[in-house]
């Protein structure tokens, strides 16, 4: 099967051969050769539009220099997920390029040029895979046509292979470098034929990430690493309570510290992703700025959220989900199902706020000058930096130049550019480039937290063990509260992943309970899949226990009861992943495990991918030791088995942190946690064996940055129950006393 994609048309992907002059002007590339751009329609993520429509948005640049060096641009942001290897590898595969001749450059912030750059929602591969391949294929067609012209033969008589075009008649070869400039004069093809799976050279292979050589010698530069002449350094402290204001600051002692340049008040900038408001010190090095910051005497007017207390708030959410709430969606007759039930199982599940805590704290350099503004930042969304700084500086977004650095982890945090906005304020204040580096404490106390949540499920079983009714009430402060602070609960569409979960339940009702936000809420890796996955996966296990069957059989039964033809694929893929997990973990033989061990299983569909996990634990008293995890992934065609595997390993590690211990606690409106001693993320000594398997199929590729988290926590809770009979319904299971 070969995929033929007609190009171009108004709403299809379009390939364009940029005139060299135009490209040089746009990108500053100084060598000749072939330059090719490709555009694709605008995409949306999480309901937010990520860019403006325009007719030509090339977002995959192929640049082959006259010496054959091939430069591929990655417009999406790299934070460790491996996108800057996976996408260029897809281009290189269709291009039949020699990977050793390829170098990769992170695209600067320019959505006109690269298309949407906001990197989240596990969407990069899902949306970019075909356009990237088309760019490579189109460039190859032009190289082949150039060679055919040189030899006076037809393109059909030539074949591309590993950076050469070969004349099939006589085996003559011309290198891509020799052909590049000639290829630039060839017409851009109207359509390209993409490779068949059997011919993939890089797609689906175990390709090392392109930057690991730089990482192991400390040469890769991150957001915190930008240096330039005249650079000043800053440290900041924020109002501990969202919405509070600065009452007074005594700068006297701080200004006396040698090396301090200025103390700057930063008012809250009330646009999404603007600064929460704080006071910063600018100095000639970061440490001096941090020391002087401690000498400030600050009084805050804490404002309306100063009594926020997560312990009380969680209890409030539980009450709200254990009582009738606002209807979100309904089908069938749930009251009838409950009235006729053999059993009704009821359970309430909760989860705490989470801090992303990437190892690299928020950091950026901004230099605001009279007629320019340049940014160097680790970011997931350079377009948002342009928008926020444009609003703040009253300039055009295109006039904000954003250099995207490697991000030392992000997990959703670096989607929001408050730290970049603050550096811009400081740069203006001291009229110099300023590097603002948040302390770990500020990162933990001034976040955009994963929602604290409560979910209540009531599910009915009939005599045959079929699940006949499902009531799902959720209450959590919504991400949408960032944009609309008056929201008093999660909007009904935030329950879409519940309503559309591929369980086959005829009588169903979902409700959203009151949950006003008292802090900033933000996307955190896997977002709703963390708590929805936990509720679905745990409830399935509880239902299995109540109906005296096993979890795999019960899940299969629920999926089989889904007669919605639109969900047939979801059902089949969920079941297949589950079956593979059961096989790999030896589910049917779990009775043979030692008495203090248990096996738990769960499967979750999120971000268009399917992941099943089987977790084996040993429980001794209160001590939970995770021994082994089998992760079964169905993300369609895998682009890069190495980074896909790494995403699952990472999901297990993050899943263990949030399941077992980490939780952001608020008291008197402010975060109590401050650093890794009281936000105890997983360390190496608790690392279990993780085995990752991929389902072999021809579905189109979907992303994996997030989908590993959904099934982990419930599989773990189910395993602990199997081992000990203790059911954990609250994340984290064993919070640290604060």
């Amino acid at each position: 099967m070969s995929l033929t994609n007609p190009l171009p048309s108004s709403n299809k992907n379009t390939v364009s051969n940029q005139s060299r002059r135009q490209f040089l002007k746009n990108s500053g590339i100084a060598t000749g050769g072939l330059v090719l751009g490709i555009s694709l329609p605008q995409k949306t993520i999480a309901g937010i539009k990520m860019g403006e429509d325009s007719t030509f948005n090339p977002n995959a640049f192929v640049h082959i220099a006259d010496n054959g060096d091939t430069l591929l641009y990655c417009g999406r942001c790299e934070m460790g997920q491996g996108i800057s290897t996976a996408l260029p590898a897809a281009v290189a595969d269709e291009l039949d390029a020699d990977w050793t001749r390829v170098s990769i450059k992170q695209g600067e912030g320019n959505e006109e040029k690269y298309g949407p750059q906001a990197t989240g929602g596990s969407a990069s591969i899902r949306t970019m895979y075909i356009p990237m391949r088309e760019a490579g294929a189109a460039a190859k067609v032009m190289l082949v046509a150039a060679a055919a012209k040189v030899w006076g033969v037809s393109s059909e008589q030539c074949v591309a292979d590993n950076h050469f075009v070969i004349n099939k008649n006589n085996q003559q070869k011309l290198g891509y470098g020799e052909l590049a400039s000639l290829a630039a004069d060839q017409p851009v093809p109207d359509s390209v034929t993409l490779k068949e799976k059997k011919d993939y050279k890089y797609i689906g292979k175990d390709l090392a990430r392109h930057n690991q050589g730089d990482i192991v010698v400390g040469r890769l530069t991150y957001g915190v690493d930008t240096k330039m002449p005249g650079l000043k350094y800053a440290a900041i402290t924020h109002c501990p309570v969202m919405g509070g204001k600065l009452k007074s600051v005594d700068k006297t002692q701080a200004m006396k510290v040698k090396g301090v340049i200025d103390v700057v008040e930063i008012p809250r900038f009330e646009v999404p992703f603007g600064s929460l408001g704080g006071v910063a010190v600018v100095a000639d090095n970061t440490w001096t700025a941090q020391q002087a910051l401690k000498k400030l005497k600050i009084e805050w007017d804490l404002g309306e959220h100063q009594s926020y207390d997560t312990k009380a708030y969680k209890a409030h959410l539980v009450k709200n989900v254990e009582n009738p709430a606002q209807l979100a969606a309904e089908r069938g007759d749930i009251n009838k199902a409950f009235a006729e039930a053999e059993h009704v199982v009821k359970a309430t599940y909760t989860g705490g706020h989470l801090s992303h805590s990437p190892m690299e704290p928020n950091a950026s350099v901004v230099w605001v000058q009279k007629d320019s503004c340049e940014v160097w930042a680790a970011t997931q969304s350079p377009g948002d930096i342009q928008k926020v700084l444009a609003q703040y500086l009253k300039r055009e977004p295109k006039d904000i130049m954003v250099n995207v650095t490697m991000a030392g982890g992000a997990f959703g945090r670096k989607f929001k550019c408050d730290y970049v906005h603050e550096a811009a304020v400081l740069s203006q204040a001291v009229n110099a480039p300023v590097q603002l580096t948040w302390s770990r404490e500020e990162d933990m106390r001034t976040g955009y937290y994963h929602s604290i949540s409560a979910q209540h499920i009531e599910a009915s079983l009939d005599k045959e063990g079929n699940v006949t009714g499902w009531l799902h009430r959720a209450a959590f402060p919504a991400i949408a509260s960032l944009f609309n602070p008056s929201l008093d609960r999660a909007p009904a569409n935030n329950l879409g992943d519940v309503d559309n979960h591929p369980f086959g339940i005829a009588n169903y009702r979902s409700e959203t309970g009151e949950a006003k936000a008292h802090t900033r809420i933000g996307w955190y890796r896997a977002v709703y899949a963390i708590f929805y996955g936990f509720a679905f996966g745990s409830a399935a296990d509880e239902l299995a226990h109540a109906s005296k069957t096993d979890t795999v059989s019960l899940l299969n039964n629920i999926y089989d009861n889904n007669k919605n033809p639109e969900q047939a694929e979801q059902v089949a893929r969920s079941k297949a992943a589950l079956a593979m997990a059961a096989k790999k973990c030896n589910w049917d033989n779990r009775g043979a495990l030692p008495s203090n061990q248990g096996l738990g299983i769960a499967v979750h569909f999120s971000f268009n991918s399917y992941v099943a996990m089987a977790v084996r634990v040993e429980v001794n008293g209160d001590d939970i030791k995770v021994l082994e995890v089998d992760a079964i992934v169905d993300c369609g065609q895998v682009l890069n088995t190495d980074s896909a595997t790494a995403q699952m390993e990472g999901a297990v590690v993050m899943g263990m942190s949030l399941s077992l211990r980490t939780e952001v606690v608020f008291r008197d409106g402010a975060v109590v946690n401050s650093n890794f001693h009281n936000y105890p993320v997983l360390r190496i000594n608790e690392m279990p064996q993780v085995n990752v398997y991929f389902m072999e199929n021809d579905y189109k590729p979907t992303g994996l940055g997030e989908p590993g988290l959904g099934p982990f926590a419930p599989a773990l809770a189910n395993a602990v129950f199997a081992a000990s009979g203790k059911r954990y319904r609250d994340l984290p299971f064993k919070p640290m006393p604060m």
Partner: protein, 155 residues
């Protein structure tokens, strides 16, 4: 007369407040940015360097306390990126974001200098001060084992 400090075989005068942690002397004064800031409290290990061969958290070590000593940072660990740990890190494709990895490698290098055949438990004990939020621990463990094998293989 200012004190001096030897870093990656080069001598530098300590021309800052002696209380400044070595981390910030490296990063902001010398612009050796391979050593990372992670927590500022010696809790995460991202800032690990060697002082006279011993893994040390540079974020809590005043630069004056390192005066006269020999410092090695990730930039100076090997001439050609060929320390067995660096090679093992690449062979095992350890890094994800890579931010913590300089600290991980420096910590492992100091540990392997004295432990020729580390057990799984030895590695856990030696490496648990270094946090990786991306979750590369499984590969770190394998890379440490491989590097130990490479360093101490019998001739």
């Amino acid at each position: 007369m200012s004190q001096s400090i030897k870093i990656n075989d080069k001598s530098y005068p300590i021309d800052v407040d002696g209380e400044m942690p070595l981390l910030w002397f490296l990063r902001d004064r010398l612009e050796l940015t391979g050593t990372k800031f992670g927590c500022g409290m010696g809790l995460c290990g991202a800032c690990t360097v060697h002082i006279d061969g011993q893994a040390t958290r540079s974020c809590v070590m005043p630069v004056s306390a390192a005066a006269g000593k020999t410092i090695t940072t990730i930039e100076g660990l090997s001439e050609n990126a060929d320390h067995p740990l660096q090679k093992a890190w690449i062979a095992n494709k350890v890094p994800q974001c890579g931010y913590c990895q300089a600290g991980q490698i420096m910590n492992a290098a100091s540990f392997l200098a004295t432990n020729k055949k580390p057990s799984s438990e030895d590695i856990d004990n030696a490496m648990q001060g270094n946090i990786c939020r991306c979750g590369t621990y499984q590969r770190i463990k394998q890379a440490v084992v491989d590097a130990a094998d490479e360093m101490y293989k019998e001739a």
